[in-house]
Symmetry: D2
């Protein structure tokens, strides 16, 4: 149960299906875990690009009636994580533009590291920016490119931007999908049952709409979707994969495959590795739901210590504005998580979680378990200490808020009042994801940034 | 009770008051009758322009908390009338832009007649448009102007646009207000109690915030508001006043003064003129509430026929989705308006309304009065037949929906089942508003468009 | 614009129409001015009594879907004015009961003066009360009556209660309507277009559903509605009419007839009487909208002083939670009412309102008119000073809050800062309503209570 | 994931805490899984019983402001499961009554089997019923009892009712808790940190408010709570325990103890028994979340077959009103549950669920797993076939909707398209809950009803 690091968004593209916007809707629903603040879909019907976007969950923004106005056989969609800002509604996606070649809509997952520089250059040349999204750079770059055809302009544009981006562009007749050369953020390609195509941040979006996985869009690859043709692949950059390893640790849904591997399996592997390198004598392995479940299953399988559901997640959470009474400790955690007293009492418990960001939640969970009678609580984290912020599309707290950036593991252990605390080390983490080369970004654990 | 012609919006600007956004909020509330679909305010605090806009009434969009984030001593605001469109939230104002000179926000009441031409020219040169508002042209024109200073750029920009516009620009430190050379739409200047200034579409916005009327912004005039100085007046164009006469007929609130005259008085004058040129023997003068009230008072005073509240307006309107039963005729009108049966029964009634657009509402009202027992119903309209659509900022139906464009007065009279029908003629209308020259646009009655 | 005295509710009954609940719905909508807090309808289909009631306006509580579940050819409905209480939803009507004769629903407008006494007696005998409504007494009295037939039990029951009541009872097959012997609250009988019947608090409920007025239910009369028969009249009490004169002064809608006379006409008469007995030299007669409009029309007609719409009512009211700035005086009134400055400036104004309850609103209105430039403001009230609370179904403030109970007219005049203040006297008021005998309750002006 | 059998409600009582209603609020939140349609709390302050109840979740019905009006040091609360009915708001609890001894409020979990008989008898004697809840019987029985003291009357009353009931009564100064002689529904007693007491349907309500478990209220026991005294125990009936075994199978939260045992442990035992009596060669044990999780853990531990999270539960469920496209099979299930394709593919899967009610959901889950590539799917149910409806407080479908009442296990297996299907038998189920005697009601599996 972490509340401090979050994916910033999800993208989806549908091409070649007469109910494209409806498929985009259901796909976005499957990707809701990547962003709950705003949702939007643009569709293209050959003549026009239609856009609807608003604050709220996918199911709230769209209804039978407004989906009908999103006509056409191609559509792109976006869900956004909450960010601060004067008027966040303006920062919802897709970003739409009319320009000299017609109309386009763009959805973007990632973070452009040279956004300010590019924007300032564009502004100097007379461009105006109407939002605070780095994605707005792209429509300017495309509009200002001297090339005649949209494809060439997109190629021009993506060569000007740096950082993390999984993008889907929609024109009135075509769709384009692109990943940065490092492939920071995931983007997969699938086939719709009727012959059309889908691209989406995670493969879990495929299942609901009946699509089958083809392959990932490659780092540095641009896919062009045109009516009546198979997607055309253009290699803009030589791939230098630096996949975000935190997708495996926490962001992606366990039923997705990202970067070519099952998320659930990699998480279980992390738990197994953790059991091997950080064993401890105990009676139970207990996950912090839901994030810690797969790693705890792995830890239990490897250690032969029984896996138990020692902490229950309450499904009727929501925020209460009623002040607790004096006696109610740790209300915030307890309204979401409950200790299974009968399981825990008198037992030595290994608690498995995916990461520790600020440490306060871990502290509350351990206190809760101790109050429920646990004789020992050993915390095991299925990733290395989170020491550095992310500049590639993840919402992280400032470095001074990251407990592992400011305390040793021993100090954290004392702070959270655990009997022992151990993390997975970087090498084991990489092993868990079957990394045979340097194809992952681990900057949040190491501070080694790519660019 | 007309539902078919509507002002498209209202603008307000506040300069030199430490609670500028709050004053903008209350002013917009007074201008709510000019647009109910969306509302927005931008404020400037010297360093930044802050914007909040959303669908809904002013009171719904803003609250204590979000108004507090609109810091600074200058603010501009806007309310918008409902228009069709894919995603109307994107078309709310203020329009905000970051550009080479910093940040700006613009609010606009009117309609640019060369919008498409200008936009196409801008797009050809690489500009991108993110909304469907003609107002977006302005931020491009300003951003692309080669002039060094914002003032000069605004002058450049407004010389490129044609049509109807009452505009307020906000930069991080200054405010600018401008009216087109014809002064189609109203814009008045007032003094705030503490020494600051307000500009607003109607003077009724002044009362609530305690401002006093100074004068109208002149046609073709640009007013520059800078800290510590009186507003500086720059004459961009020689005034060629063509004020929208329909502001007097219907749009403006009766407690406002626009174009230098009391709206209520001019409406009463119309009623008096109507009584003089279109008298009829009758027992009562009855207004269609609320639009027909002032003219009916004038008609009654001039004709000496008693003024009576023969039709009541229901304050709990709202749309019902319950199907009426067979017996319920004219449900739509009757849920809003009720006949005063005891007043009407056996009487010869003169019904006064401000205009007839499609004719269906008039027909229902007359039928309702007849069913209530009126022995005769004479319809008197305090404006000439509405025959032509407006291109200067008013939302009008197509010409083929305007009953007076397709039927003679006699035919309309038969259609609405009145015992007689008479309109005010153009000359009398102009007399009612004390027009001594050709200073009014009457195109919706005459088809004589200025440009 | 008064906010301090209010009707407590409205009742309606429909008998002999296959869409009875739908007619009840539309009738209640017409009676919405008598109560906005809760609404409910019960229908009877011969076998069962169905009930839906909830907080909110009629249009919010009911929808196509839930109205369909209210089957049957008879229905009773109720709207309720806001009252305090722990859990006000429980106090919505109709009151439903299953008892030895089957099922029944009751709606009630009025106030039982012996409610506590009856309730205590019932409780002593083992009854339980589940709400705080005096109406609950009735279902107990009916259930406990030893009579065999419902009609006889209703007769039993209504003889046990005292005070003000206009009641409609619904059993599974019949409907009963009853007024107390004094006829405090109105109740009229109408004929539906298809042959069925309607009873309603005001005749304005008849128009929308196409019903025609037959006559008032008489004081002390019980009407029995049975399938296939004309309503049967039973005289329970000799009528001793004491109609609530405040229905004429303020509560009833101007397009209704209550107690046999047009509400609008009686209000105009009050204004005429007021002009005769309390003349004053002035330039304009101005109503406080909407309550003061008919009396102001009457005052103007009688005095020959021009009637002007000198105060405008804003239709976009609603409550703001934004704190006003220092300069904004009388914000609460000004958001609802605006002075017509051009009309008022330099003029001697007669302001006509229906009553003064606490005096604070009158004070604000006068201050507003003075600030708008009125040279003199003469307040004229179309009823006598309100000195005493009502015990017959009207929500009045305590006596110590009624300004006329605590100050002389001269003192009130000074308090509200008027140049003169005059009320209608009791005799003139009675004359206005054509009272030839003592058939009206004027207790709120005189303290002379009937019982 | 079952949607067809549900607990009807939860009750809670707080005594001797100055923030009683706040503790009731948080306790009800912990019991939200037992009823989501309506929530209510009554409090007693020595002089008065205050009640608030409404439709919706606990967190929606209550807020800081309205909780403050629920004064006093004692409170009872209730959450209700959705039931059909004309106007379900009327059927929310607590049931409140004023009667000859003052005021009382009652909350009830269970179902009275002689409700109609008792009600008819009461109605014959003149009682009236205003709701459709059997609980209303109780207030009548108490009010009509000839005994002088409330305690004696409660004893009188509970001796007149039959069936399942866990009740909490609140008077202005005292609280009473009672369970039927069979103890069908759970009710536990706890101590508040400050010395007061709590009773609640499940012990999970204790944790959040810091209470400690004392013991269960015994079958047939009445507990009396008076200020300054320990709870007094009165044995009304000799206990004949027939605890609802379905509380262990599905209803109760896993972190609760009911009937003296950990819910989670008993569920794990069921899984272990199931593995012993219904083994099958397979690669994985997969729970249907969340209901099947504990039994699947038990099955895996016993069978040594790896436990895997092969089906994921989506946390952003909610109802969509968008029609699926042709290709979307099993949309309803898939929006809630997703197959973990990488885990499932090519594997022989044992799926563990708590029960099968109608069979349609099981069918969809199995189809989903097969489509995800499972080579075999073996369904294991941790309870016997559900063949008979419940009359003791559980919402069950009619017998003709219960698949096991109409098909053999083999037929069900074919219907749900499983490779094998096996249930736990009654004896093993009883063993799982450590039943050494006939202390459990298993009527829903056996049709052997107690009464």
């Amino acid at each position: 149960m972490r509340e401090n690091m979050n994916e910033k968004c999800a993208v989806v593209g549908i091409f070649g299906h007469e109910e494209a916007s409806k498929l985009a809707y259901f796909s976005l629903h499957s990707l809701q875990h990547r962003g709950q603040e705003a949702a939007g879909i643009s569709s293209a019907d050959g003549h026009k690009v239609h856009t609807i976007k608003d604050r709220g969950l996918v199911m709230k923004v769209f209804n039978e009636e407004n989906l009908k106005t999103l006509k056409g056989s191609a559509a792109v969609g976006h869900t956004r994580y909450s960010t601060a800002g004067d008027d966040s509604i303006l920062d919802a996606q897709p970003v739409f533009a009319r320009y000299d070649l017609g109309e386009m809509a763009i959805v973007h997952n990632g973070n452009l590291t040279n956004a300010e520089e590019v924007r300032n250059a564009l502004i100097e040349k007379g461009a105006i920016f109407q939002t605070f999204m780095d994605t707005e750079n792209l429509i300017h770059l495309i509009a200002k490119s001297m090339k005649e055809h949209l494809l060439d302009r997109i190629i021009d544009a993506v060569q000007r931007i740096e950082g993390a981006f999984s993008l889907v562009f929609l024109s009135r007749t075509k769709m384009f999908a692109m990943r940065d050369r490092f492939g920071f953020r995931p983007l997969s390609l699938g086939r719709l049952p009727n012959g059309g195509y889908i691209v989406a941040s995670e493969t879990c979006a495929f299942d609901l709409v009946g699509a089958t996985f083809i392959r990932d869009v490659e780092p540095g690859e641009l896919l062009v979707f045109e009516e009546g043709k198979a997607p055309q692949s253009i290699k803009i950059y030589e791939p230098q994969p630096k996949h975000c390893i935190f997708e495996y640790v926490y962001f992606a849904r366990p039923d997705s495959s990202v970067f070519g591997q099952s998320v659930y399996e990699t998480r279980k592997n992390m738990g197994k590795e953790l059991a091997r390198i950080e064993p401890v004598e105990a009676d139970l392995v207990v996950p912090v739901p839901d994030g810690g479940v797969p790693a705890a299953i792995g830890y239990a399988q490897e250690s032969k210590i029984p896996y138990e559901m020692g902490i229950m997640r309450n499904h009727y959470i929501g925020r209460t504005f009623i002040e607790p009474t004096q006696e109610m400790r740790d209300l915030k955690v307890k309204m979401k998580l409950s200790p299974m007293t009968d399981i825990i009492k008198g037992k030595r418990v290994i608690v498995v979680d995916d990461s520790i960001v600020r440490g306060t939640t871990s502290k509350r969970i351990i206190r809760m378990l101790k109050e429920a009678g646990a004789s020992e609580v050993h915390m095991r984290i299925s990733s290395p200490p989170t020491t550095d912020p992310c500049y590639y599309g993840v919402d992280t707290p400032d470095k001074d808020k990251l407990i592992a950036a400011n305390m040793s593991t021993q100090e954290i252990c004392e702070f959270i009042e655990a009997d022992s605390l151990a993390y997975l080390d970087e090498a084991s983490l990489l092993r868990s994801v079957n990394a045979t080369d340097e194809s992952y970004c681990t900057a949040c654990f190491t501070g080694k940034y790519i660019v």
